[in-house]
């Protein structure tokens, strides 16, 4: 359940679109500006700090797309670890305070040419292919819920409050049936409190697919990380 998806519960879909688009616009503008500064500024530390803004923007984009787990991972790994490593690297290689005019080659025009060419080709391809593709977010749905008979005393209060038709004035040891249709009317916060319901958020789906379908890539990545760790130590260690 992302922040934006929560917003979606409270606003109509058109309003959501506007809010999301405004958010996207701001984030995208900040990202493009910062990315531009990252690749052009003469101050190495400033480049790293601009990179932080880009990375935070990417995290925001992920949350906007409903993948808050990847967003949090982005913050944890990129900002918390990779940029810090960059700053370490910069400071250990004695970057000077202030601008360093030697950071760029004389071949700027060549880079710019390739970049623009690439952008034109990719942009044309994207516009051509996905011109009308629209993103639709489905609410996270419970994967495992089936009709269930429960004692009223076992049902949390918010669920009872949210389903007046089902519970009515029954209480205590009365047995009621919560059907799939009733369940669907509940907001996700309440859904997860229904006995027997297992609400699969994005996290659980990601975990499920990493540890079943993509277990081999996962193991490969773990080995890769170990190899990189050892490699980095061997390469950087003083004899």
């Amino acid at each position: 359940m992302s922040v934006l998806a929560q917003v979606a519960n409270e606003l109509t879909s058109s309003e959501v679109d506007i809010a999301q688009n405004i958010a996207f616009g701001i984030i995208a503008a900040a990202m493009i500006f910062s990315a531009f500064k990252t690749v052009t500024t003469a101050n190495v530390v400033h480049a790293a700090l601009y990179l932080v803004i880009v990375l935070a923007g990417v995290a925001a984009i992920f949350i906007l797309l409903g993948s808050d787990f990847v967003g949090a991972t982005q913050v944890l790994v990129y900002i918390g670890a990779i940029v810090v490593l960059f700053l370490f690297g910069i400071m250990l290689t004695k970057a000077q305070l202030g601008d360093d005019e030697t950071v760029e080659t004389e071949r700027r025009s060549m880079g710019a040419l390739v970049g623009v060419l690439l952008l034109v080709v990719m942009g044309y391809a994207l516009v051509d292919t996905f011109e009308n593709a629209e993103l639709e977010f489905s609410d996270p749905e419970p994967i495992a819920f089936s009709e269930i008979d429960v004692k009223v005393s076992d049902v949390p209060t918010p669920v009872v409050d949210a389903l007046p038709d089902v519970f009515g004035d029954r209480g205590g040891d009365d047995i009621v049936t919560i059907t799939g249709a009733d369940f669907a009317t509940l907001v996700p916060e309440v859904q997860r409190r229904v006995p027997g319901a297992e609400v699969f958020g994005n996290n659980k789906q990601i975990a499920d697919s990493i540890f079943s379908q993509y277990i081999v890539p996962f193991e490969a990545v773990s080995v890769l990380l170990l190899a990189a760790l050892i490699g980095a130590i061997v390469v950087a260690r003083k004899e």
Binding site: T105, V114, V121, Y124, A125, D128, Q213, I215
Partner: protein, 768 residues
């Protein structure tokens, strides 16, 4: 009385295979293998700091595992007889195919409506007038990982043979652990020894409760690894480490067969590792005959190496280099029976693959019967007491494989069961003697030990008699059952699985040999004059008590499976104490082939007993009468006649030499195969290379030279030269130009790369 299944009828195979809901002990058998494995780690990490060097952890773990195994067996008894397969928790064969991917727990329906399982097997047990009661295996599985659409599962499968093996392995391992605290005390790798003993036990236990062939392969290899570590326990001495390597490498040969066979099964069964599913498909004919045959042949190779069948048995006697308790464990309960157990576990594959029913010879039975006789013969020429026992094991394993080969499944398992006790008893007894005289050499260091070690002597005698198959000791019942099961000469009536006359003859010869070589062994060890040094004495209680326990089992284990008709006189009249063992172990379910049970034969039992006693009688006459008399005459410490038949009669002498050289198999492997490759084969290859290949090449060279000269003179100089020079100049100029591009500047390369990719992408876009 519903518990007794009819043993005469070709039982209708029920459509039920397994259940996931049973007694707690049956569902949670995974704890039993886990305990010794945990104990392995505990000993490795903390063993050295403990007062007993880690032995106490091992004994405690195996002891608890033994108690659990006993409880599991009791629970299995109850489950076997009283499990109600009509309730909703059993999955049937047909249903399993419909939702085969689901987890086992999915069977219990969410909406609470119990599924009714209609058993479709016809009640054919009319002969005995009883309904066949299925023996439903208990399965506890979980999904380990999913990849490429295949669900890799991990779990346990408990049925009769598995429950039995749990009991045997834990009991023998427990006794071996206790025995070892005395036997290897003061050893430099005492802790290490117990750690591997635990792991060995744990892997074997995990092997017998394996739920799928993947687990079987893993634990099979683990067992092999542990045996390597234990055989090479005293690796400082070259022969020991050589023996360990030999065991490991010979097993590797068979393991290739194992892998190939398992892979064949996996693919031919439609991509499943599940033992029950593979067996079901083999029974129901969903796997083609060809695939089954090839799988069975490959797996037989694995059995030959692991269970020491003839031609690949050579590692087994050498494996005696390990400490004696290890030999006992290897030969009685763990390593070598793994192969036999694998045949039993995947029996439908062999049953249909080798076309066992209704035939009179097949590969499995042939290998087994050859091993029985050839292994037994080798035992006659050994001076090392453990090697006698080792060849005896080879021979007895031959019996088991023979029994499986002729379709006497229950007899094979029964022999495995009884053999475990008396062979463990014999090994531990030989260890006890050796511990006292510090040698294994019967001829030079033993003799007359009965005076010094009365307890060891008595237990050794009991176990030997059991091994020789004398009524009413354990070996008699199991061996007799195997012989009847062959159906040779028409014994076992019309109900036997085939008419394996050759196997019956070989089995009888084997029985005769068994008694004879054991008599020789007993004479050399326990009778005559003491030929060694020092003052031998009886071993301590930690050694003798396991021996006594094992000899009690060696005497009484056979009573578990009286043949039908015994004591009642009428084979068609079942009584409660008959066939208890078969009833306990034999799966009667959709994953087991419809084997039939032979009718016991009085006259065969008598003939076998007589033949079995002829061997010992001859040996007795030779040693106890002839040799003893000669020894008394000359006053020397004799172990054989100076002018015996093997040195005076020509063909016997030749045979003796053949046996001493172990049929020249080691020569075959080392000198002939390796030597041939190194010597004649490479020489031949060299000659071929020198004369034929080089001749061809030289001739080709010469003719090429001639034609080259011709071409040079007429074509090259005139026409080609100009073109060549021109192209040379062109490439030189081009190279000079292109050289400028190779600047060594990474970013320029990157720029070209990106630009090239972009241009390509643009072209693709335009084309599309």
């Amino acid at each position: 009385m519903s518990g007794l299944m009819s043993f005469l009828a070709v039982e209708a195979v029920p459509d039920v295979s397994f259940t996931t809901d049973a007694n707690w002990f049956l569902e949670n058998v995974w704890i039993i293998p886990l305990l010794p494995v945990l104990s392995f780690f505990a000993i490795i990490f903390f063993g050295k700091r403990l007062p007993q060097g880690g032995a106490e952890i091992g004994i405690a773990a195996v002891g608890v595992a033994f108690v659990l195994a006993v409880l599991t067996n009791i629970a299995w008894l109850d489950h076997r007889d009283n499990f109600d397969y009509h309730d909703g928790q059993t999955r049937t064969h047909s249903e399993k195919h419909s939702d085969g991917d689901d987890h086992a727990s999915a069977v219990i329906d969410v909406d609470g409506v119990p599924e009714t399982v209609v058993l479709s097997f016809a009640e054919e047990g009319e002969d005995a007038g009883e309904e066949s009661h299925p023996s439903v295996a208990v399965v506890n599985e979980m999904s380990w990982l999913t990849n490429g659409g295949i669900d890799f599962k991990a779990g346990t499968m408990l049925d009769g043979p598995a429950a039995l093996m749990l009991f045997v392995v834990t009991l023998i391992s427990l006794l071996v652990h206790i025995y070892s605290t005395d036997y290897v005390s003061g050893d430099r790798r005492y802790t290490h020894f117990f750690a591997f003993l635990s792991l060995f036990t744990g892997s074997m236990l995990a092997y017998v409760v394996s739920h799928n062939i993947l687990q079987m392969i893993v634990t099979w290899e683990l067992v092999g690894l542990c045996s390597f570590a234990l055989i090479g326990h005293w690796w400082e001495e070259k022969p020991n480490s050589d023996a360990a390597l030999k065991a490991f490498l010979t097993n590797r040969v068979g393991d290739i067969g194992l892998l190939v066979g398992m892979v064949i099964l996996f693919f031919s069964a439609g991509g499943t590792f599940d033992v029950i599913e593979i067996n079901e498909k083999a029974v129901s004919g969903e796997i083609s005959q060809t695939a089954l045959t090839w799988a069975a042949i490959s797996l037989t190779a694995a059995v030959m190496s692991k269970s020491g069948q003839f031609v690949l048995h050579t590692w087994l006697p050498d494996a005696m280099a390990g400490p004696t308790p290890v030999s006992a464990l290897i030969h009685a309960a763990t390593l070598v029976v793994a192969g036999v157990f694998m045949i039993a576990r995947l029996y439908p594959v062999f049953w249909y693959g080798f076309v066992i029913p209704g035939s009179s010879i097949n590969g499995l039975a042939l290998i087994g019967s050859i091993t029985v006789v050839f292994g037994g013969l080798l035992a006659f020429v050994q001076n090392d007491i453990k090697k006698v026992l080792a060849y005896s094991t080879v021979s007895q394993l031959g019996y088991m494989v023979l029994a499986l080969g002729v379709g006497a499944w229950t007899a094979a398992i029964f022999h495995l069961f009884t053999h475990a006790f008396f062979k463990a008893g014999l090994f531990l007894g030989s260890g006890s003697v050796a511990h006292s005289v510090h040698s294994f050499d019967m001829k030079n260091d033993m003799g007359g030990m009965r005076k010094f070690m009365p307890t060891t002597f008595k237990t050794f005698i009991i176990c030997s008699i059991a091994l020789a198959g004398v009524f009413p000791f354990a070996g008699f019942w199991s061996k007799d059952e195997i012989l009847v099961g062959t159906g040779g000469f028409g014994v076992g009536a019309e109900k036997a699985n085939g008419e394996y006359t050759l196997m019956l003859v070989m089995g009888l010869v084997g029985a005769m040999l068994t008694g004879a070589y054991m008599t020789r062994c007993i004479y050399l060890t326990f009778f005559g004059e003491f030929r060694g040094h020092g003052h031998p004495h009886e071993s301590g209680p930690r050694i003798t008590i396991p021996l006594i326990i094992l000899s009690v089992f060696a005497f009484g284990a056979g009573f578990l499976n009286f043949p039908p008709g015994f004591l009642t006189g009428d084979a068609k009249k079942p009584s409660f104490w008959q066939e208890r063992f078969g009833h306990f172990v034999e799966p009667l379910a959709a994953y087991f082939p419809p084997i039939s049970h032979s009718v016991p034969s009085w006259w065969l039992a008598i003939i076998a007993s007589v033949i079995g006693l002829i061997g010992p009688a001859i040996a007795y006459f030779y040693y106890f009468v002839l040799v003893d008399r000669k020894a008394n005459e000359t006053g020397e410490k004799l172990t054989e006649l100076p002018n015996g038949p093997t040195s005076s009669i020509g063909f016997l002498k030749a045979g003796h030499t053949l046996l001493v050289n172990k049929y020249y198999l080691d020569h075959l492997y080392q000198n002939v195969i390796v030597g041939f490759t190194k010597g004649p084969l490479s020489k031949a290859a060299y000659w071929f290379n020198q004369n034929v290949l080089d001749g061809v090449v030289d001739e080709a060279g010469r003719s090429a030279e001639r034609s080259g000269r011709f071409i040079y003179r007429f074509i090259d100089q005139g026409f080609i030269e100009g073109v060549v020079n021109g192209s040379g100049r062109a490439s030189s100029t081009g190279g000079q130009g292109l050289r400028k591009i190779q600047t060594g500047k990474v970013q320029q390369y990157a720029a070209l790369l990106f630009a090239g990719a972009t241009v390509l992408a643009g072209i693709f876009m335009i084309v599309n």
